[in-house]
Amino acid sequence: MKEPVIDVTPAAVGNEVRQMKDAGWRLVGLSGAMVDDEQIDILYHFDKDLTLSHFRLRAPRTAPLPSISAVYSAAFLGENELQDLFAVRFENLVPDFKRTLYLEEEITTIPFATNVKAAEKKT
């Protein structure tokens, strides 16, 4: 990516994101991608006056992650989507659709984590 990418840790992401917000950055969105069978990349895209900047949070998919919905309330949609598609879990996410944002019971696999059954669905 041509824009700056800042690596953040799960412990620090809340703080860092808040600093971005205080510095006047707009949260454009969140993207998720599997790095390998365990690790997930969560990218936070920020914009200020048409320039982009990204955070990269790399963590095991199954570990609970902190939600930034308390900082940017609009992040709830993106985080819920990540929960649906990757079965990651965000803590203190409001509102938490509990993996029902898109998915019905009929989908028993985790869409983007191939070969993993959605055991933890229905939490």
């Binding site: 898109y102 019905e104 009929e106 989908i107 696999t109 869409p111």
Partner: protein, 166 residues
């Protein structure tokens, strides 16, 4: 005589319910365009009623997915007989370009019986009009299921012989 009148009225007054069953909007806007001055399907007595209880024709666009299939089913059941279903666009017909996506069940006919299929991506308004005309032929044929089917009842329905279309 009476039968003929009723049949004629049915064919002349198809009220449609349009359900966007997860379409990309392409087919929807073309369906909606049918209502507008250029195509004006009200010429055929068609009204977009938006309420299954008033509808005779169900227009379905889009791919069926696991969530909306329940809605589709419910809407179909809430329509009074006789009714016809038109599936519109590659998505409604088969799932189209998304056929193998994980949340795609497939075409409309996976959930409810479809009378007419209108291909296209999106199906252009003329194609939809053709589809409606074909559906009216079906409607003309539809004898009311007196015994069979959940909702069948015949008090107001003159029994009709399936006289074949047009």
């Amino acid at each position: 005589m009476f039968d003929a009148l009723v049949t004629r009225a049915r064919v002349k007054s198809p009220w449609v319910l349009h359900f966007d069953c997860g379409s990309c909007n392409g087919c929807d806007i073309e369906t909606l365009a049918c209502l507008t001055p250029m195509y004006d399907i009200e010429r055929f007595g068609m009204i977009n009623v938006g309420n299954p209880k008033h509808a005779d024709v169900l227009l379905v666009t889009g791919t069926v997915n696991h969530r909306n299939k329940k809605v589709l089913q419910a809407l179909y059941e809430e329509m009074p007989d006789p009714k016809v279903v038109i599936a519109i666009g590659a998505c409604g017909l088969s799932g189209g370009v998304f056929r193998d996506a994980y949340n795609v069940v497939g075409g409309v006919d996976r959930v409810i019986p479809v009378d007419v299929y209108v291909p296209g991506c999106p199906a252009r308004p003329e194609a939809i009009i053709d589809g409606v005309v074909a559906a009216l032929g079906k409607l003309r044929q539809k004898a009311v299921p007196t015994a069979a089917g959940a909702g069948g009842n015949g008090r107001f329905h003159p029994r009709m012989k399936a006289t074949g279309s047009s």
